[in-house]
Symmetry: C2
Subunit: 219 residues, 2 copies
């Protein structure tokens, strides 16, 4: 099950260092994660790091601004990783594998950021717009890969865009239950979801592909 992340050389999009964040933004993430958007006050946030209310307004404009900046941090990061992951591969099957792997690794390494997503609907339409665009970008990228695979006969799906949306929902839901200190490491989780996702698109020759990936990881 393990793919030997210690031996395989990781590309930049596969490597997750701790996310760099100001203490203020980090405090905002903790507060929003614990109490939700509406349950968090600006005073709660700044009190965690001994800062003042005007300091938050100066850096983020408002509580909503801080929330939107956190969402942007998360989706901005996953967006560049996904694009890199797709560009690093050739053909729909490998692109698909790289992209699903990246999204799942993101969910496992950035669980708290990803868990903010359902709170989105409490924000103003302006704050939502940018986030929705980012998500749509990723969904379209996955849909294009699925469509490409279906067109070339390596995948078999009825409605590529629906399958892409369902797969993203499946990955997004990881943030609901994943525990970073639990029994399942990010790499093992990603392997399981790549396997499940390849089934979902009825990928041909997937046993051969999995073996090739495992061999590559052992090198």
């Amino acid at each position: 099950m393990t793919r030997g992340q210690a031996t395989a050389v990781e590309a930049e999009w596969q490597r997750f260092d701790p996310l760099e964040m100001t203490p203020l933004l980090s405090a905002a993430l903790d507060a929003f994660y614990e109490h939700g958007f509406h349950g968090t006050s600006v005073r709660d946030i700044v009190g965690r790091v001994g800062q003042t209310v005007p300091s938050l307004y100066y850096h983020h404009g408002s509580k909503e601004g801080a929330f939107a900046d956190l969402l942007e941090l998360g989706t901005g990061e996953v967006a560049w990783r996904v694009k890199e992951a797709a560009a690093a591969a050739e053909g729909p099957v490998e692109k698909f594998v790289n992209v699903i792997e990246t999204i799942v690794l993101h969910m496992a390494h950035r669980t708290r950021l990803a868990a903010l997503d359902p709170e989105l609907r409490h924000l103003s339409s302006e704050s939502r717009r940018r986030y929705a665009e980012r998500r749509k970008e990723i969904e379209n990228l996955v849909a294009d890969i699925v469509e490409d695979g279906a067109a070339t006969g390596v995948f078999a799906v009825s409605v590529p865009s629906e399958t892409a949306r369902a797969l993203l929902g499946m990955c997004q839901s990881i943030a609901r239950w994943y525990q970073p200190d639990g029994p399942l490491g990010p790499r093992e989780l990603a392997d399981r979801y790549v396997d499940i996702a390849l089934n979902t698109v009825s990928a041909r020759g997937r046993r051969r592909l999995t073996t090739a990936r495992q061999a590559a990881a052992r090198r």
Copy 2:
């Protein structure tokens, strides 16, 4: 794509009449849906239906009690439907189809109730326990069906419990985006997700199965 729901006789677990709810609980659902658990006050809720704060305390104990009662309404309903749906079928493939169909129909017909799910983590551990048990019950039922199908060779999956969890996450995520007045009706959505889910478990002979279902619907 349509399966002619007007002509096919629907079982009780397939029929979704508007959910019966007291005006107070209905107001609580509206408020929680719009503003989240922490963003809603008891005064907000009772003000929507011209009732008093003590009235909510009398019927639901607390704001959290009202929220927990709504969750129980939703998961209690989906739990009995799923059990009926599984019991009405024979063999893992048909059971699987019935259960996925039921969960998706629930998401489409009870979108607002289902959308409360991510707020769960703001509740006390006691309120969470019962809900978590209900969810686990459904997840185990799906996992058992997937395992059964894998054991008898009609499904091919690596880790049945992980596939079951992923499928439930996929279905749950429908509540994030589904619009009851949008272009996709509950029945069409359920058909699409049954199709996707059958791929996810690599169901054998699925084309034959789909045709048989369509023929049954036309009868």
